[in-house]
Point group: C2
Chain length 473, copies 2
């Protein structure tokens, strides 16, 4: 493509994005496409001859947009709502143009060192001690996998060299029953297996019961298991509950276990001074994951693993074939040494743009607003005769359900809430997802998009109430 | 950021990128930064107040660009040269704006179905049978890890449930001594261990010796190992050699082993009909990885795993917590089920843009040119009295070294070639990397950037000859 053509189409794309971001409400948040609708609208084979950008951009509106669920829409309240903020998008544009592989320092000194700079900035912002160093991965799934791989390495079984089969070791790790599924997947991937992950019961507020943890470890040791790691969560996926990290850190200290804190969701809130408490005890963790692409307005993907024992993490993965040897030696950091992936995008640039454009205060203001809006919504639920809240609200996610006075059967309530969720989502002005708490189908309102205002939260509340009236007839 | 501001800065960034891509020669390909130079140029903490985009864009030129090694520069001949093509960059801009997580069909039907559409197009383009279905991961490292995890699952040991330690199984996989380091890393990560990966010797042209493979399997079975997987490579990293896949497929068939083909580099060439032979035998593979972000002008990251047994891959990873359950059921594909990562960017969009903009013929023309240029360069080497070629050139990578008639000591030749590489790279007009072949330090010229023309290859040849004259005095 000539420079003139790139200019022309680049400007068209910028106009398109500006328009998209300023009028998201024209689209239903949740795509109304039927399965296979997009596949049926496109040719079954690639074009022989090149097509025009005009045709491609036309298909963007005709085919792609109707099949989008709009995560960047202010009415997106499902899962953990996220944001691709404007400075983050501009950063991604530049990263795509540079197209570097930040595997070695030499293959992109700027990407490597900006990764160190931005992660040092974030470390200070969330108040972790300075012995923590960071590395950027694509997702929290990989950050967690790497943390547990480091824990496995620290167990001293020479798993790296011999493999787990030869050791015959029955490794066991612990996490609350509310831990994210990526911890289960890490156990599976790393060869520890589902049996090697013991789920610890939680208390009435969905926090790991630390006494049950301690008992489980003793019981397992007596039965020939080798405990090696505990994953504590700061901001669980269903309710954003916070495990008692200080008590868990005590246990890990006594038992010699690796403590990994999953603060993928909750860690961002610690940027706000009055929320700093959510990371209490995490200063004693061996590793901690926090996702700027969740809570800090950075476009996907960008997950950060902080680790206090980077040499162990490196020992779990480093492997340098001749074709990747460089003359810089130990003087520089080659981030490929710290994980399974050789290919590494220049992800730090968008994060640097986001932190500079908003500044620490700007990020704090936005996070404070989200927490305040969640509390306001929780207040509406608490005051309503037709709804009830099902969990505390430490961050900006509210767990609740419709519970009209006339209904008491749990199965009926589940059916009602599922219908209500589908009804609200079908209308497309807001999008909510669900979980199950103590067997109850639970709706979640997750506030996290940078464009979400009080009006959007109010709209969600209205949609829920109006939806309830409609389906109850 | 207001829509007007996004427009303004977005247009500035587009102008910056257009300028960058049209005059890359103004920068040295390999960054001339010293270690810590970027870190020292930036503040040690994040700004309290937000800064202007003007300040950030000024720092792009002042701080970031000098520390870049320019992978999108036509003089980049190191490792495997890649390209962020213009339509690919435009696709990435839009993906960043949509900011979806393509974990579930429901969370982005377009991302899910466009992934299926583009991978079906590519499958046809490289001539794989239609029982192969695909999934996009970030990197070949992860594609390979997932393939081997599927192979481990297919071994029938209930590793997923029990873990490898409890099975006590001594799993063993096989690959040539020239296999990519990501296969070693996969063995480590998956708990198979370095001992669980047996490297098979290669022949004089760096291809796996299939008879040695067969012997190794027999020997291992006799010694209590459980063989489960063979990784064959189409386009090894050092020399782009091609393992004898048909013979290896015969062995895997007889022995009941999973055959994974690493065509991360070499697979793209099969888009050219007269290069289709490079995938001979791959139709019998269980899985195959090909990287559009290597050979097909797609910005990083986008790696494709084709698998003939998607149910096995799914069985190795699928795990659906309540908060991710949706009503669509088996009618749709939820790509989170096929790997360790829950978070998944909308990567298919840039690939769709690239395939449509160039068309199959446009991609073929560009790949043909790269192969032709590599052969021309190889011809120069072959005709020179001062250089010699060290491996065949099936694709567009040439392995060679300086070897003036007056020198015969291997240590002296290694020293000379290392100095020559450093001298050429220091000048910054081209960038080459190295490997070792049969103990000899070997230079590599890897042609892969879409902007590389005959003139740039000629420039590399001139730089090498002039550099040799300078350092020999």
């Amino acid at each position: 493509m000539s420079a003139e053509d790139f200019r022309r189409y680049g400007h068209q794309v910028v106009e398109w994005i500006a328009d998209y971001l300023s009028h998201p409400e024209r689209y239903p948040v949740l795509s109304q496409n039927k399965p296979d609708q997009l596949k049926e609208a496109l040719p079954s084979k690639a074009p022989e001859r090149g097509e025009t950008m005009e045709a491609m951009l036309a298909d963007l509106d005709r085919v792609i947009v109707p099949g989008m669920t709009h995560w960047n829409h202010p009415g997106f309240f499902a899962y953990f709502a996220t944001s691709g903020s404007a400075p983050g998008i501009l950063g991604e544009m530049l990263s795509a143009a540079f197209n570097v592989n930040a595997m070695l320092w030499r293959t992109s000194p700027s990407a490597t060192e900006l990764e160190e700079v931005t992660l040092e900035w974030l470390r200070q912002m969330i108040g972790l001690p300075d012995e923590f160093k960071g590395v950027i991965y694509d997702t929290a799934s990989i950050s967690t996998l790497c943390a547990i791989a480091a824990a496995r390495e620290a167990a001293g079984l020479q798993v790296r060299e011999q493999g787990l089969g030869a050791t015959g070791a029955k490794l066991r790790m612990y996490a609350s029953e509310h831990v994210h599924s990526s911890v289960d997947k890490s156990a599976i991937t790393l060869g520890i297996g589902q049996a090697g992950l013991r789920k610890i019961p939680s208390d009435g507020e969905y926090r790991m019961d630390s006494r049950a943890l301690e008992q489980a470890i003793q019981e397992d040791r007596a039965n020939g298991w080798q405990p090696f790691c505990v994953v504590a969560t700061t901001g669980t996926t269903s309710t954003t509950s916070i495990d008692p990290v200080p008590a868990i850190a005590d246990i890990c200290g006594r038992e010699g276990l690796w403590l990994h804190v999953d603060a993928a969701y909750g860690g961002s809130a610690a940027v706000v001074p009055e929320m700093r408490w959510v990371l209490e005890g995490s200063d004693r963790a061996d590793s901690l994951v926090v996702n700027p692409h969740k809570g800090l307005f950075v476009p996907v993907d960008l997950s950060v693993l902080y680790c206090r024992k980077m040499n162990v993490l490196r020992g779990a993965f480093s492997l340098v074939p001749e074709y990747l040897r460089t003359g810089e030696g130990e003087e520089v950091k080659n981030f490929m040494d710290y994980g399974p992936q050789l290919g590494r995008r220049f992800r730090a640039l968008k994060f640097w743009f986001v932190m500079r454009y908003f500044g620490v205060e700007g990020l704090q203001d936005r996070l404070r607003l989200q927490i305040a809006l969640a509390r306001e919504f929780a207040g509406c639920v608490d005051q309503s005769d037709d709804f009830e809240r099902l969990a505390p609200v430490p961050f900006s996610v509210v767990c609740f359900r419709a519970h009209p006075k006339s209904l008491s059967d749990e199965a009926d309530l589940d059916t009602l809430n599922e219908r209500l969720m589908d009804e609200v989502n079908r209308r497309g002005r807001v999008y909510l997802s669900h979980t199950k708490l103590a067997g109850k189908l639970t709706l979640r309102l997750a506030i996290g998009n940078i464009r979400t205002t009080r009006e959007h939260v109010k709209l969600a509340w209205d949609e829920l109430n109006e939806g309830l009236v409609r389906i109850r007839g």
